[in-house]
Symmetry: C2
Subunit: 242 residues, 2 copies
């Protein structure tokens, strides 16, 4: 039986997504610090639905309609919002069974950009094994889409892209000839022996530290806290039931 | 005496250049396989002036006006052109004292995009030490601008960016907090012990091999063949006289 291999590609910024566009691919959106880690945590704690939106104006509109709103810019909770962007915000007593509207500096825009592809799921260290196992069952091309920082390349998203690429390439069903995927993989091998020390040098880690928001770094780099895989369909995220 | 440190940043694609834009910076344009290596080789062999242009239409116009034209797309010489994109094309007997109009898939567009900054110079492995020594004398921020491949990230340009970043950071005058520069540096450390074996896996190396154009790989990764530094001023490149 012929093995049909599927491609793994990595896109480093929303501004590059056009060059990686593939309508047949599943896109994994990655914003490790902190949007996609927080979204996974919210679903783990029982949120029913997350509506990712781009602009602050939309977030305010939803708030005025009575929705619970998570909204952050440059790491800070916007004053009208119920939640910011820390995974620790989304505790079960606050989110269980609820719908949350979510707007962040980088992550939620990436979800919307990716929605032209076959499907869009949410990736983080905290759900990495469940995600890679689920992806392997789908037998589709995969684009790992790093949200980056305001269009710029982000090292922590790239490290996660490398870790996920490694897991996918363990299966004979995947191959890659994508320079970004190869670079991510090599950077992951450099970071892997001491991930938290490595992440310490990233720009976003330093931004969060400067703003006293770095309590989430270790949590966001802990693998497999949850089996939840959020998927984007018809304008909102729900948890895939497996 | 206070040491005023200057920033080193790396931009991975022309589509990201807006996010790294800095009018005070010197931009080093990098397209290792093959445009910037070929431009350095041409100046080493005595070309007087290179006019980098974007489109094939412009290249044809210049040809019709009687200019010598180097024009390539996807690695292939365009049929009206006098030269393609191989550094081996630009021999002294063909280029000495001449002006050449140059249009390539990625590199010449990057030069034009970068021209809004303080100055634009051409970087390659074949001029890396001369270039880094010259940069250190300028005491300005440096953006290493990888031309990439049709907007996508390119590993061989990134490896050169890392090698140049390493040389600059040897001087106390430079620092970096740029994730792309840190990633380039780590990838360079991975590649450095056996550069040609490492480069063997890149997408562009495989494109060139497939098209029988890979005779230039070793040359383009050989450091310090020349001390020439091409600089872009008023619409054309000339060699900096030191």
């Amino acid at each position: 039986m012929e093995v049909v291999t599927k491609k793994v590609e990595v896109c480093f910024s929303p501004a590059l997504f056009n060059y990686y566009q593939n309508p047949e691919a599943i896109v994994v959106v990655v914003d490790v610090l902190r949007a996609t880690s927080a979204i996974c945590a919210a679903f783990m704690n029982g949120v029913e639905k997350v509506i990712p939106i781009g602009t602050v104006e939309e977030a305010i509109e939803y708030k005025n309609k009575g929705y619970l709103v998570a909204a952050e810019r440059d790491g800070f909770v916007l004053d009208f919002a119920d939640f910011g962007n820390s995974p620790f915000n989304f505790t079960a007593n606050r989110v269980k069974g609820k719908t949350i509207v979510y707007s962040t500096t980088n992550g939620t825009q990436a979800i919307n950009i990716a929605s032209s592809c076959y499907s869009v799921v949410i990736g983080a260290f905290i759900n990495i094994s469940a995600l890679s196992n689920w992806l392997k069952k789908q037998q589709r091309d995969v684009i790992i889409f790093c949200a980056g920082w305001k269009g710029r390349f982000s090292l922590e998203d790239t490290i996660l892209a490398g870790a996920l690429t490694e897991k996918l390439l363990e299966s004979a069903s995947y191959e890659t000839v994508c320079d970004s995927a190869l670079a991510s993989l090599d950077l992951w091998y450099v970071a892997k022996p001491n991930l938290l020390v490595y992440i310490n040098k990233t720009a976003q880690r330093n931004r969060l530290k400067k703003n006293g928001l770095d309590d989430v770094i270790e949590y966001c780099h802990t693998p497999d806290i949850t089996d939840i895989i959020p998927i984007y369909t018809n304008g909102f995220l729900t948890a895939i039931t497996q």
